[in-house]
Symmetry: C2
Subunit: 472 residues, 2 copies
């Protein structure tokens, strides 16, 4: 098998691939300019003042696909933002059908004061392109659009049958996509799906992402008196809602980072030794360096890496009570609110975990206060695919051939709900082909994407379509 | 002793007193109109936009005292708002000298939208006068000014030697008064002090307030990573500052309302059985009715009443961390902040307690986060005078003669720093002659003061000066 790779490589580097790579190379500057156009559209899905811009971004994607050579392109209206659907199904019956999913909407840019360049005026510096959406997800979506175009413009065809689904609501929960997938099941049906909305563990380090965490959450408000009270007159007679909330919170997780909510870990698929070895091979992020935290912590019995990748978590995302201004105000606050979310792993059911959280809160509620719970309607199950699946192996090969390094295998702490839906509705593998890096600063000011990943990513994608045209 | 009260009453109702009571009765409407003028001046000390109005209110007080018959009246400039000082020292060497202290500044009126009438346009309805400052403290200060005038205008003299000190910074900590008391000790020196800036336990229930709590506080901020983090990518590796803060907070007070900070209760003067009996006689406030809280709580071993009056407390006044807007944001917050204040009882030293709080927080800080502490510069020791002191007994008598009811004896959970300063600088009794009611809504929208207390209060005060002209 020693020359297997070189021989395969030779066969892979057929005339077709050479044409495609040449096209990509010649058009790299052009592609960057087109990406900039895409990035200039402030397609902020969560904010209704940008509704028209969101539409505009959908139009950009549709137009690009049409110009690329997709004959069937629709901008599908929904109850929210439009969804762009396109298909090219002329690769033949032997070739598989792939659903490429992405999103053209972006996070809000706030806080604006912390951006070094304008969030919607792409700036290239230090080998990166800076803009909101550069990494999540426009940079990566555009790479796929350009590769489709490269194939169609040079060879007149794609190696695989392709359905393209690019929505505008991923940042706000993809509610309408979910409905469409349910109602129009056959339209989106495919043999497998590919998504590029994640990242590599480090710059230039091919990464196979074979698992995602699930997600559930809620908000609870503890209420004491009807109004804020003078703490001198009433301190000693009234349960302080902020302190009651603190007691509830500390009953949910201890200082060993173990979640104490009864039943929380039931059904959790344990990490096998094989997986622990696989994870260990992936370079660890020095979290103290990347985040500025004094030191890392992790669940008792697990490393920080294992905990972020494959153990469930419970986090406070926000809390507020009483007086928050400058100086002192001697009150007993009327209410106290905490927002919690959990990241889940295979074996956990989001609805069940949400129930457990709510029950726990009600059970731990101290005397003298009441509680109201607002459940987060969005949720997702965890996702995990066999790292040895042929589609996964070919992705690893595509990566290593382009980047010149073996891929590492990881599971991610984040959630991508659409992955779980595709898994549960179609029971197909979802290949997470991510080209981002830890420095991209998703969801934060000064989001960026590395230019060399932009180039190499397109080569990797092109290589991948060629490899999977025949599934072993 | 059966007829003692009636005989004394007869002697008390000397011609002088009849004259004074008649004057008060005839001028009641006039007094109300003058009070309204006083209330119309928005003397909000904390807000510099009202600086000129604050001056104007000082001028009102000074003018009134001059017209009343005080020959020595000064508006003393300070580094902040002016202080009005006046003295009338012609009662003779046998008569004691009293320092009457009050304040002409008021709390801000915000939130404005919740006032039923304009905060600085006094409105009379339901037997009350509604305006910011009606109870705290202009209504009560004015009563004293009117009584001084009543004596001087009818009899040409006051029963006691009087020093008047009415400042404009009580709501913001009286910093300049403190300096003046230190620097000009003799100027303000007296045999005892009288303050009317507190309330009765219920409408029409004479109340002897013989103790106040002290006060100390701080704010602490727990810091984790440099920025808010994506909770999927970093959950499991980074200590959540909000949860760390919750762990610190719950280590400070348990669900039995006992403060757990080491050394907190050291030196606390215990409640004697006599005092517990005295307190029990005071009508209890039904805290669930007055505040809307579901039920009351109290420190293990003490009733809610005892706890509010005479046991130290630790309260969270505010806290905030991370995302506080609508819906969900899946972050690990970078920081979490809590504001704490303690009400102290005799035996506790505010600076020492503040140290204990800070040390405790640092000791309980979990691994993986840092903390910064901001100490509240304002503090006050508790105050307690012997309920059997002659000056206190005479206050009780003055009350019961006017209101026709025995006075109840209480200690208050609130703090009045100037009381503690007078105690520690001059070592004199401070008589808290309060005419407010629980419905006055100090520091809140729709502050008001009952008109019958306005009338009866002036009678009580006049009666009191007459009684204390000779101290047994």
């Amino acid at each position: 098998m020693l020359n297997y790779k070189m021989v395969r490589k030779g066969k892979d580097r057929e005339r077709i691939m050479e044409q495609v790579f040449q096209y990509l190379s010649e058009n790299n500057q052009e592609h960057l300019e087109q990406l900039k156009q895409f990035l200039r559209i402030p397609s902020v899905s969560t904010d209704s003042t940008y509704k028209e811009d969101v539409k505009k971004a959908a139009g950009f994607v549709a137009e690009y696909l049409k110009n690329a050579g997709f004959r069937h392109v629709e901008v599908e209206e929904t109850n929210g933002h439009p969804l762009v659907f396109a298909e090219w199904l002329e690769a033949g019956a032997e070739a598989p059908t792939v659903l490429f999913y992405g999103h053209y909407d972006v996070q809000p840019a706030e806080p604006l004061g912390e951006w070094k360049s304008e969030p919607f005026d792409p700036d290239i510096r230090d080998g990166r392109i800076y803009a909101r959406g550069a990494s999540d997800d426009k940079g990566q979506v555009f790479m796929h659009l350009a590769v489709f175009k490269a194939f169609l413009q040079t060879t007149g065809k794609l190696p695989v049958n392709v359905k393209v689904c690019i929505e505008g609501e991923e940042e706000i929960g993809s509610a309408n996509l979910y409905d469409l997938l349910q109602k129009e099941k056959e339209k989106y049906e495919a043999d497998f799906a590919v998504i590029s909305d994640s990242g590599m563990v480090a710059n230039d380090q091919p990464t196979i992402l074979y698992g995602l965490k699930g997600f559930t959450g809620l908000e609870f408000t503890v209420k004491g008196p009807d109004n804020d009270l003078h703490s001198g007159m009433y301190g000693g007679a009234i349960r302080n809602p902020a302190m009651a909330m603190a007691h509830i919170l500390t009953s949910m997780k201890n200082e060993d980072e173990v979640v104490l909510v009864e039943g929380f870990y039931d059904g959790v698929e344990e990490l096998t030794e094989d997986e622990r070895d696989l994870m260990q091979k992936a370079p660890g992020e020095d979290f103290t360096v990347s985040t500025g935290a004094k030191e890392t912590v992790s669940e008792k019995g697990y490393t920080a890496k294992e905990h972020t990748m494959a153990r469930p978590t419970l986090e406070i995302n926000g809390l507020y009570s009483g007086y928050q201004g400058e100086g002192t105000k001697t009150i007993i606050p009327a209410t106290a609110t905490a927002k919690l979310t959990c990241r889940l792993v295979p074996g956990q059911d989001p609805a069940k975990v949400q129930d457990l959280l709510a029950e726990h809160i009600e059970r731990k509620l101290p005397k003298g206060v009441t509680v109201s719970i607002k459940r987060e309607p969005l949720s997702a199950k965890a996702y995990r695919v066999d790292p040895n699946h042929p589609l996964i192996r070919k992705a690893a090969e595509s990566f290593s051939e382009t980047f010149g390094k073996e891929a590492v295998y990881v599971r991610m702490g984040g959630s991508i709900p659409v992955v779980e839906w595709l898994d549960s509705i179609y029971h197909i593998p979802v290949v997470l082909l991510g080209f981002g890096t830890p420095e991209d600063r998703l969801h934060s000011p000064n989001e960026s994407f590395p230019l060399d990943h932009f180039e190499k990513g397109m080569q990797t994608i092109a290589n991948y379509w060629n490899k999977v045209k025949k599934i072993d």
